[in-house]
Symmetry: C2
Subunit: 438 residues, 2 copies
């Protein structure tokens, strides 16, 4: 490799790069327009896109540029010129070019893009180069950074829970079984929650960002079989305390994305003002009972005790211009570990956070049962075997404390922030019932 | 829950907390000493430990304190007193106590701890509360933070690769098979590398921290079946470029741990001066051939072309007081994707980074093959089927560029930094051939 300093293309548009500056850049050919005596091509790198111009008179260059194809990789030496006709008002007059690799004809056609074809998933390893996918990936990067920042600034310890587990957190129906050295009964984790609960007795405030796995058989626009899960658990916290953390976290993430990724949000056509409004604190808080009233008013037939489906969630949030907490779900709607309200034992001290604009539940959380007998009884009431949860019950034997926690579906959050139609575009290589390739 | 402001125990030792200050604290009972007319107990929270004293004359308190057990959870109101006889020179005279939960007799005995019994793994969910494990967990937290910081400061994008894959990165023998909706041929990822390679065409410099899975059948002190893997891939980078990133990253991590976790390193008995010396840049660089010479001199029978085992690695690094890169492994030692040296095709442009003090390989990396025909030939030469690697080969069809990358075993690094005998203590809930519980 040559010891040249290359400039990031994005930096060529800064005000301190003057007309006439000699520059070296490298990247991939994004568009080409070939005229009789000139070739224009757009060159992209990870930071931006600039127009490059080659004149037929440029000896030794023309013959390299004539056969250029979309996505070919090149390094370019040239002179930066201000030109109002060029995109962004600047272009590079090419003085030398090295074609690192002439790309074969790129298989993604504009038709495929327009029709949002399934084919884009077959060639996902190439489609991620598009400005659409790259913008999402940059926003996703900032979302992950914001999550780490928020938790660390607030005194949380980052921890990691195992992926291989032996007992379901969220019900057995969506477990993936693994052949573990020939052994049966080993599954992939659905949530790190139980392990985070163990860790609060050492570290009090803990979080993790890790994959979780759910064998979702539905072909929904909102589910993946493998998703990134930001989970937190806090000793001594009540439901009220944990809701404050949840809304602060979400608002922090959106603020950071709006501050640092405005360009990418605009590329995606996302209305930034709506996002800013949607992240104003506090978020709305309604009870499950109030939610039911709203739904009935809107003509939904939901009985007390029913969980809400996607349609109900969408109808509900259409009433609100910010995320809304639905608090106090009936016992049967929620997994066994949720603490029942001592004042009203038929409901749990739980809450879902629903994103606006119909993106659905992004966080589920609440208080956990911390009394041993209460936990064992509820495990049995749910038709489960306390033996499968021995170590989890143990946590209530040795200095148990009230505690609360939550799980945030990071891909779902990215879907909302980016305004995507389908969750699969929120993650580089999505996995669902139909797809494990590429 | 009561609306009291509790002070972190660690903060009670700060110089601005004066003798006689009224304090409220909460946590778990760490040690108890019961005398006729006094009870001393150590109270721990996530930030520290302080001695609490209860006098028999304190009405309404004595009867609560008498039955106290190890690991019971309590909240305490009291007065902070300076006292040279107390650990750390301060103690709390208890004026009120609420026992949140009287713990059952704690099952971890001092015998179990002294003998480093297998039992400590059976009750891992409780053993993590020990000052030994908590110190490691805090250092691990700082290691993860340092990795994110280093990459982000250096212009890398954080990305996530899928856990479900269909083709081996590192050889088929260590793949875990998953029952994927009844479908065969789906495995857990061994490395995110191939996906990071796809992503450099969009983002150029990418990294990820994620679990990787290897069905390691050996019962080694250095292997887990599930480990945390920090991987990076960079467009346009040569072997030399990527080695610089690798050593800077490791030095950055150690510096941060030494700066922020000195207390925890000391709790573990780790010699901080040795760590500081070991993280001085640059690290050593020797060739595979030179490594072979050293090993022969030390009486090892290794042929040119052999890979090094744990014994060889230990013997090798005993010559060095800092980490050492071993550069240019023979083709057969390394996976197919490593680029062969054009000047000497029998060796690859690869390097392992070996940690000092016998902790073994912590990073493997190097240049990747970027020419399509070269890659297809090598896949065949390795007895593999190019059809299984179609999308990976595709990356060499559309604007391929030279690139390099590496994978860092984060748990192995934590093991070295903490000076642990066994890698299982570097991760909260270790998984190996024998263990998936708790």
């Amino acid at each position: 490799m040559v010891a040249i300093e290359f400039t990031e293309i994005g930096k060529l548009f800064s005000s301190d790069v003057r007309d006439g500056t000699a520059v070296s850049i490298r990247g991939w050919v994004y568009r080409i327009r070939k005229l009789k005596d000139k070739v224009f091509f757009l060159l992209r790198d990870s930071s931006g896109v600039i127009q490059c111009v080659v004149d037929k008179n440029e000896e030794g260059i023309w013959e390299k540029v004539e056969p250029l194809t979309i996505e070919s990789s090149v390094t370019v030496k040239g002179v930066l010129k201000y030109d109002k006709r060029a995109p962004g008002g600047r272009e590079v007059h090419v003085k030398d070019i090295m074609v690192v690799h002439y790309a074969e004809p790129f298989p993604i056609t504009e038709d495929a893009v327009r029709s949002e074809s399934e084919y884009l998933l077959d060639v996902r390893h190439l489609w991620i180069r598009s400005s659409y996918m790259t913008s999402i990936l940059k926003i996703r990067h900032t979302v992950f950074e914001a999550i780490h920042e928020y938790f660390r600034k607030n005194g949380f310890y980052e921890v990691q829970a195992p992926m291989f587990i032996t007992a379901a957190v969220e019900g057995g129906a969506t477990l993936f079984q693994v052949d573990y050295f020939g052994r049966k009964g080993v599954y992939l984790t659905q949530s790190s929650q139980f392990y985070l609960e163990a860790l609060i007795y050492a570290l009090e405030k803990v979080y993790t960002i890790a994959p979780s796995f759910r064998a979702e058989k539905s072909r929904s626009r909102r589910h993946l079989s493998e998703f990134w899960h930001a989970e937190a658990e806090v000793a001594w916290y009540s439901l009220k305390d944990i809701l404050r953390i949840e809304e602060e976290l979400v608002a922090y993430i959106i603020k950071k994305v709006v501050d640092e990724r405005e360009k990418e949000l605009k590329t995606l056509g996302r209305n930034v003002d709506i996002l800013i409004k949607e992240s104003e604190l506090p978020f709305y808080r309604i009870t499950y009972d109030e939610a039911l009233e709203i739904l009935k008013r809107k003509g939904f037939e939901v009985e007390w005790g029913d969980d809400f489906g996607a349609d109900e969630e969408r109808a509900l949030v259409s009433e609100f211009d910010k995320p809304v907490f639905v608090i106090g779900f009936p016992e049967a709607c929620k997994a066994f570990y949720h603490r029942n309200d001592p004042e009203r034992p038929e409901v749990t001290l739980s809450a879902d956070l629903l994103a606006p604009e119909g993106y659905g539940e992004i966080i589920g959380g609440g208080e956990r049962i911390y009394d041993k007998d209460e936990l064992v009884k509820k495990i049995k009431r749910f038709g489960l075997d306390p033996k499968d949860y021995e170590w989890y019950i143990d946590l209530r034997r040795y200095g148990s404390v009230p505690h609360s926690g939550f799980g945030l579906g990071v891909d779902r959050l990215v879907m909302w922030i980016c305004g995507l139609k389908h969750i699969r575009d929120a993650i580089p290589f999505p996995r669902d019932i139909r797809r494990v390739y590429p």
